[in-house]
Symmetry: C2
Subunit: 223 residues, 2 copies
C-alpha cells in the first residue's frame, strides 16, 4: 500500500505545518500525489487519518521512553534513578521519533504541539490509552528520587516539563522569530540537553531553596 504511506507522510507534514482544522484533504492528497477520494477509501475520514498519523509515531516514542526508564532503573539498582536521567528518558525519545525517515522526522514534533491545542475527541481517547502507563511509571520513578515532594507536585512538574517540550517543538525553526533573533535553531541533542537541564532545576528547586538560605530568592511573598 504505497498510497497509504504517502498519505500518512503528507498528512503528517501538513497537519504539522497548518494544524488539523487548517489542512484540507485536497492539500493532503495533492501533496501525496493521490486522488481526493483516497483518504476516505484508506482511512474512512479525516479524523481517522489524523489518528493513524499520530499512532504511527506515539507508540514507538512511548515504547522507547519505557525502555530508557527500564535501562536507567536497571543501572541504578536499588538506588533511585538520577532525576536528569529520568527526564532524559521522557524527553529524548520525542526528538528521535522518525529519525529513520530522513527529512520526514522533522514534522512530527511540531504536530505534537498542535495536538496540544486542537482538542479532537478521538485524539484525546488515544492519549488516554497510550499515555496512562508512561505517566504513572515516570511519576513513580520521580517519587522515588524526590521523596520529599508531594506527589501532586510531581504531576504538575511533569506537566510543566512536557509544556516546555511541546512549545519548543511547536516553535521549531521559527525560534529566531519568537526571540527577535536571539535564539537560533540548534541540533536536537542540544535542545534535549537544555530542556533536561532546566527541568531538572525545576524539579530539584525546592530542595535547593530549602538548603541554600543565602540564595537570591525572594521569600517575601509566598502564597
Amino acid at each position: 500500500m504505497d498510497t497509504r504511506d504517502q498519505l500518512l507522510d503528507a498528512a503528517e507534514q501538513l497537519f504539522a505545518e497548518r494544524g488539523y482544522a487548517g489542512t484540507s484533504l485536497r492539500a493532503i492528497t495533492h501533496l501525496a500525489q493521490a486522488n481526493l477520494a483516497a483518504v476516505n477509501y484508506h482511512f474512512g475520514s479525516k479524523e481517522n487519518l489524523l489518528c493513524s498519523v499520530v499512532r504511527r509515531r506515539v507508540v514507538p516514542i512511548n515504547q522507547r521512553r519505557l525502555e530508557q526508564l527500564d535501562a536507567a532503573e536497571a543501572a541504578a539498582g536499588p538506588a533511585p534513578v538520577p532525576v536528569n536521567r529520568i527526564l532524559r528518558a521522557l524527553i529524548e525519545p520525542v526528538f528521535e521519533a522518525g529519525n529513520g525517515d530522513g527529512a520526514l522526522g522533522i514534522y512530527f514534533p511540531r504536530l505534537i504541539g498542535w495536538l496540544y491545542s486542537e482538542s479532537i475527541t478521538q485524539i484525546e481517547e488515544l492519549y488516554e490509552a497510550e499515555f496512562s502507563e508512561v505517566f504513572s511509571r515516570f511519576v513513580d520513578a520521580l517519587a522515588k528520587s524526590l521523596p520529599k515532594h508531594p506527589r501532586s507536585d510531581l504531576y504538575w512538574f511533569i506537566q510543566f516539563t512536557l509544556g516546555m517540550l511541546v512549545t519548543v517543538l511547536m516553535t521549531g525553526d521559527r525560534i529566531g522569530l519568537c526571540t527577535t533573533g536571539h535564539c537560533t535553531q540548534e541540533p536536537p541533542e542540544m535542545l534535549v540537553h537544555r530542556l533536561v537541564g532546566f527541568a531538572e532545576g525545576g524539579f530539584l528547586g525546592r530542595d535547593r531553596a530549602n538548603t541554600a538560605p543565602g540564595s537570591r530568592t525572594d521569600t517575601t511573598r509566598k502564597i
Copy 2:
C-alpha cells in the same frame, strides 16, 4: 459601539475554544447576536478581528509586566532583582488579564496558547512590535541577577518559561483530562506560584549543579 465590543468578546471566546481556523465568522456573529456582515464592517476581515482581540489584551499585559519589573528594580535599588521576583513580573500579569471582565477573562489565556501554534502573519508582526521591549528588559534584569549565565541561555530559559506558561493556559480546565485525573484545576495565584517556583529552579539550576557536586545529578552524559 456596542456591537463592536460584543464581537470582540464573542471572538475572544470562540477563538480560545476552537482556534482561529476552527472558528467561523458565522459562529462569532451568532454568539454576539450581531449580523454576519458586522465583522467585515467593523474590522474589515477575520484576521483583523483576531488582531484587535489580541491587541486589546496584550498591550495591558505587557504594560503591567514592565510596571512590575520597574517596581521590583526600584525596590532592589542597586542590587539585582531576585530571580523569582522577575519571573513573577513576567507570569502574573497574564493571569490578571481580563480580571475586570468577570467571566470573560477566562478565555484569553487559552487563546494565547492557540496563537502559539497557529502562525498567522499579522499576529507575528504584532508580536514583534509588542514584545521586543518586554523581552529585552527582562533579559537585562535576569542577566544582572545571574551574571554567570551566558546571555543565550537566558533567552532559551525565557522561552522555556513562556512555554510552560502557555501550555498551562492552553490546558485550562482540561488539566484533569491530561493528567489522568491527578491534577485538578487550581486558582490562578497557585498556578503562578507553581510556575514561578519551577522556573526559578530551572534558571538557578546551573549554579546549583556547579556548587553541589553531591547532588543526585547524572553527569555521565553531557553533550
